[in-house]
Structure formats: structure tokens, C-alpha cells
Amino acid sequence: MNFALTEQQRMIRQTARDFAQKELAPHAARWDRDEEFPAAPVKKLGELGFLGMNVPEAYGGAGFDMVSYVLAMEEISAACASTGVIMSVNNSLVCWPLETYGTEAQKQRFLVPLARGELLGAYCLSEPNAGTDAANQQTTARRDGDHWVLNGMKNFITNGAHADVLIVFAQTDPALKHKGIVAFIVETKSEGFAVISKEKKLGIRASDTAQLAFDGVRVPADQQLGPDGAGFRVAMSTLDGGRIGIASQALGIAKAALEAAVVYAKAREQFGQPIAKFQAIQWKIADMATRYEASRLLTLRAAALKDAGEPYGEQAAMAKLFASESASYIAEEAVQIFGGNGYSKEFPVERHFRDARITSIYEGTSEAQRMVIAGHRLR
């Protein structure tokens, strides 16, 4: 076993931390309040190579390993969880399937600018009636000569209102059920595409979550991603990696909440001493720290397996399940340690608490992760 980070991994983490503390942390509360998309910092993330971290340099990416991605995602999310999910979606849910399933021409045309951060991507799987039951795709793709014609609605699409390129899943033959699903690369400038609405959310409010409509959108046949009938496999394998991204986002929120709670507990005096002197608070901090460290190890392990070319789906699901539930627990305890101050928007734990809650819902709810894990163990 070797738990040490390499020189390069430490350097990437430091770069991410410096960027996050300088460019994100001072503004995160305002972006949250105003539901403002952090366009300028996202552009800078692209310049740092953070929007295509794992994409080979030949395709415009930074060529870093997955462990580095976890470390960077954690630092970015600790400062602004909204920016974290914007970054995670572009890396894990858009660049990865393009790199894995795309043709050379698709990579040159779409992956290169996405990995460089010149274009932004989104991943369109969820629908109003297809959440955890993702195979229940109602969006249809009908073949028309050398085009596909897409019709349907997509729901809860992160980056939906700002994306240039979408990975869209659609049903080509309902009789085939999930084996009729195909993935497509769709440009948002296409005719018939529209952003219907943006969700008003509990948290990650600086990240846009959009409802998208596809009304006879014509997609050239060479923008089909992966083979016929492979769409569901593309979707699920993509989410395996995405879960490492969300686990890392949860880690970042947890780290920020834990650090804030420690600082506060040492400074805040009640009953004539810092509240950190009280056993009730010490035990909270102990449990928070333990869950954070365990989450971190699970997440890094999943990333290391992926880097080693080994199966990582089960470990990614475990990391996402545990890190997301721990993040909510840690943020919740941080609010409790802050007392009334934790309920006020003057302190960032109020935002961490709201932001943490999504991590056990999106890219597979905790229930979906348990289905995946049990599926592996009971196979």
C-alpha cells in the first residue's frame, strides 16, 4: 500500500487550492444568493486544464490521472460547490464518454474544444419521468436519411443553459427497452433545441439546472456516440466515473464545513471557555473528521482503481454513497456547532448545508448507489 501523493498530485492540489481560495471563495456567497453562473472563473478553469483534466494532451486535455482530478475537485468544491459540479460534469460526464466512445473525428471536433474549456458540455439523461429509473427514456430518436431526429424533454440538466455541446440519450425503439437507447452529440445551436426553464434550488444555486426541450432536433448520423443500442451502457459507464466526481465534490463541501467548525469551536466561548473544550463538541468533531477521512480514502481508492485500469464501478458507488451522506452529516453538525450563527447566511456553513444535500441525489441517489453495490456483491 502506498498512500502518499506524488509530487505532481500535490502540485495540482496546490494549484487548485490557490485558484479556489483566490477566485472562488470570496464570491461564492454572492453567486449563491444571486444564482449567478461563475462564467469568468469557469473560463479560467479551462485555461488551467481543469475542464479536461483526464483527457490526453493530444486531445486538448491536461493528461492528469484520476487521483489528481479528485484532489482538484475537492479543492474547487470546498470553495464553491456550484463550480465543482460545473467542472465535474464537463470532465466526467462529457469529456470521458467522448474520449471513450467517440470516433477520431468526433474527438477532434468536440473533445478538443471541450477539454480546453473553449466549449462547455452537459449530459442529458434525466427526464421528468426518468430519474432513478433512467432506462425509462421517453425522448425519441427517429432515423431520417443521414440524420437522426430527436424529440423529447430532459430534466435537471446541469450546465443546461450554458452548454454548447450535449450528450443526449434517446430511445430509438421502445420495444427494445434499454437496448434501444442511443447516445448522441448535440449542439445547442441546433434548431428545435430550447432551454425551457431553470430550477430554483435549495443549493448549488450558482450552477444552472435546466429543463431542455428537443423539438425535431436534427442530428447528423455521424454524431451518434457509440454503437446502436449501446446508449444505456454509455450512460451507466459514464456515471461510474461521474460518481467519483460527485464524491469529490462532497469531500470538498465536507472539508470546508469541518474546517469552519473547527475554527469556530476553538474561537467561540460559552460557559467561560471555548466550546471546543466541551466533550459534546469534541465528539462531534471526531465523528465528522472520521467520516471525512473514510470518505476521502474510498474516493481516492476508486480513482486509483480507475487509474490502474481496473474495474471501479462498485468502489465509485461506495465512494459516492458514503462521501455524499457524510458530507450532509458533517455540514449538519457544522451548523449545529455554529448554533444560531449556522442558520444565518453570514456564515458559509449555511450554504455548505444546502449544497451538501444534492450530493446524495444527483448522478444516482443513495438508493441507486445501493442498487449498484448490492448488484455487484450479489452477482
Binding site: 430550477e199 435549495l202 460557559f271 449538519e332 448554533g339 442558520y343 448545508f353 441517489t365 438508493e367
Partner: protein, 381 residues
């Protein structure tokens, strides 16, 4: 043992449920968004007698028992926890100290006005005095037949809407419990100002304020109890307050459970209604069981109070169990709603934010545990 509600209790509960559904529910999401409460609604609450719930009938109140009061708070909270906390604070910590410790003259002068809807607030917390209420530093200096109050109070519910404030302050330069006094201070007293309204996670239609006292002259007749009784006044008031907050949490929790069952009866996943899925059913079972256990504890605490029996421990248990159960239930409600639960299109998003404070105010869960443990050790040790 008799677990049935009496006729009056049932009648009040049903009336309030109808009122809340008709008058409050349609406004609840908007009030949360605007962080405000429309005056016409407050006026309707006045006309409905909500500000006189716990006040004796001879003073213009409804004189309901604590159980009825709890049921009313639960019903209000199930539609708007922010409205409920305004009513709670007014009927418990804002007025109880006067009813219990005020002079006959003060009671006769002030309580009828409060019962009619002049809103009351309770000023104990300060920037440096939260769970450690005895650390408060607001000064009350005796000056002839007046006290002069100077200091700053935080987390004052009803802070800007109140007409009457129960204020805890201490002899200048003193420390400890024994030199804390409780006063009634009127809104128009020179030197009293509402400095700031907090921007909060939830309960956004309820106003939580910083209230400042800059040389506010308070007649000695407004002293509640005797000099040095302040801490006792506060603790007694909080015993009752905690029962109210327990019912507030139960109301939010019930709304979460109802919304979740409704949603699960409509939402289709894996070709069946969500409520057919075993793990969802398990969630419902745990949510319902925890709420029910907490509810019985809260009803028991209310009953003890109405019997005139000691209820400090039971009130703390009720608050601890009900607020933690409701927190769990709200969390599961979001989970059952999935992505929809994270959006403001569904009420559970608001319930989740609203419920979080119930474990913090009127004594954090940690303080409830201290209170309970102290009682248990005294009884059994």
C-alpha cells in the same frame, strides 16, 4: 390512561387546520421567498384569536390548555413554520413571564393588549451568550424608580413586529445567574431600536432581529418577579416554549410525511408507483414511527404542564425527540422526492430549511441533553 383528545382540543385543531389551509397555505411559499409576512394575514390571525391562545379568558384570551396550544402550533407549522414561530413566541416566552411573574397591575395593563394582538418578543440571546444564557452582558442599572438598559440582543423572533419585549439584563459589572433580572420593555421606549434583520436559511417570513437598548429607561414596576429572578423567569418560560417548539417540529414533520406519501402515490418508477417500492415503504415506516413517538412525548409534556406538575425534563425530551425526528423526516422527504425535492417547486425544500432551526433555538439539542441528564442523575443518582 386516556389517549383521546377532548372535544375542545379536537375542535380547535380542526378549526385551525381549516384556517391554515385557507388563509396561510396559499401564501406560504411566497412569504418564504419574500422573507415577509403580509399585514392582512397577521390581522386575520389577530381576529382568529391566535395571539390570545394561552391568555386567560378574563383578559381577552382563549385560555386554551397546553395540549390545545400544541395542537394549534402543529397545525400552523404544517403549513408555515414561520407563522407558527411568531405565534409560539408570542404565546409562550414573550408573554408567559408577564403572566407568571408580572405584578397584577402590569398584567392587567399589558396582557389584554397582547391577547388582542400586540405582538410580544423575548430577548435573551446575545452575540456572546447563546447556549450559555447566563453569560449575557446587557446591563440594567438602577436609577431611582427606573432601570436603565444598555446592550444588544440577538436572534429575537418577532423582533421588528413586536410591541412588547421581555428582556433579560444584569446588574452592571456582575457575573452569574443571581444578578440577572427580567423586564418588560415597550417598543416605543426611547433608546430601543431594531438594528438588523437576519438573513436566514429558513423561517424566512418570521423576523429574527438584533434589538439594541441604548440607555432605555424602564419603570421598576416592569420588573418581572424580584431582582435576581431573571434567570428563573427565563428558564420557566423556556420549559413551556420547548413544548411549543416540539409541536412546531411535529407539524413540519407531518407535512413532510404527507407530502412524501402523496408524491409516492403519483410518481412512477420502474413501472410502478413509488410507494410500492420496499425501501420507500421502509422510509415511511420509520418516518411515521419516529414522529408518533415524539408526538406522544410532546403530548405528555403538555399534559404535565396542564396538571401543574414538574415538566422540565419532559419538555426537554419532547423538544429533543421531536426536532431530531422532524429533521430526519424532512431529510427523507427530500430523498423520496429525488431531484424535485431539491427545487422550490415542492414544499419539502422549504420544510427542510425550516426544520433545521428547531434543533437550535430555545435551547440546542445539546442543551436539552444537559437538562435531561441533570434530571436523570438527580432522580436516579
Amino acid at each position: 390512561m386516556d389517549f383521546t383528545l377532548d372535544e375542545q382540543q379536537t375542535m380547535f385543531r380542526d378549526m385551525v387546520r381549516d384556517f391554515a389551509a385557507k388563509e396561510i397555505a396559499p401564501l406560504a411559499a411566497q412569504m418564504d421567498r419574500d422573507a415577509d409576512m403580509p399585514e392582512p394575514l397577521i390581522q386575520k390571525l389577530r381576529e382568529g384569536g391566535f395571539f390570545g391562545l394561552t391568555f386567560p379568558e378574563e383578559l381577552g384570551g382563549l385560555g386554551v390548555d397546553t395540549t390545545t396550544y400544541g395542537l394549534v402550533v402543529e397545525e400552523l407549522s404544517a403549513v408555515s413554520a414561520g407563522v407558527a414561530v411568531m405565534i409560539c413566541v408570542h404565546n409562550s416566552v414573550g408573554s408567559y413571564p408577564i403572566a407568571m411573574f408580572g405584578s397584577d397591575d402590569l398584567k392587567a395593563r399589558v396582557l389584554p393588549r397582547m391577547a388582542a394582538g400586540e405582538i410580544a418578543a423575548f430577548c435573551v440571546s446575545e452575540a456572546g451568550a447563546g447556549s450559555d444564557a447566563a453569560a449575557l452582558t446587557t446591563a440594567a442599572a438602577r436609577d431611582g424608580d427606573h432601570y436603565v438598559l444598555t446592550g444588544s440582543k440577538m436572534w429575537v423572533t418577532n423582533g421588528s413586529r413586536a410591541r412588547h419585549y421581555v428582556v433579560l439584563a444584569r446588574t452592571p459589572g456582575s457575573v452569574g445567574h443571581d444578578s440577572v433580572h427580567a423586564f418588560l420593555v415597550e417598543r416605543d421606549a426611547p433608546g430601543l431600536s431594531v438594528a438588523k434583520k437576519e438573513d436566514k436559511m429558513g423561517l424566512r417570513c418570521s423576523d429574527t432581529c438584533v434589538v439594541e437598548f441604548d440607555g432605555v429607561r424602564v419603570p421598576a414596576a416592569n420588573l418581572l418577579g424580584r431582582e435576581g429572578d431573571g434567570f428563573k423567569v427565563a428558564m420557566k418560560a423556556l420549559d413551556g416554549g420547548r413544548i411549543g417548539i416540539a409541536f412546531q417540529a411535529l407539524g413540519i414533520g407531518r407535512a413532510c410525511l404527507e407530502a412524501s406519501v402523496r408524491y409516492a402515490g403519483q410518481r412512477i418508477a420502474f413501472s410502478e408507483k413509488l410507494w410500492h417500492i420496499p425501501t420507500v415503504r421502509d422510509k415511511f415506516a420509520d418516518m411515521a414511527a419516529r414522529l408518533h413517538a415524539a408526538r406522544l412525548t410532546a403530548l405528555h409534556a403538555a399534559w404535565l404542564k396542564d396538571q401543574g406538575r414538574p415538566h422540565t425534563k419532559e419538555a426537554a425530551m419532547a423538544k429533543l425527540l421531536a426536532t431530531e425526528a422532524a429533521g430526519h423526516v424532512a431529510d427523507e422527504a427530500i430523498q423520496i422526492h429525488g431531484g424535485f425535492g431539491y427545487t422550490k417547486d415542492y414544499d419539502v425544500e422549504r420544510y427542510y430549511r425550516d426544520v433545521r432551526v428547531t434543533r437550535i433555538y430555545e435551547g440546542t439539542s445539546e442543551i436539552q441533553r444537559l437538562v435531561i441528564a441533570r434530571s436523570v442523575i438527580k432522580e436516579l443518582g
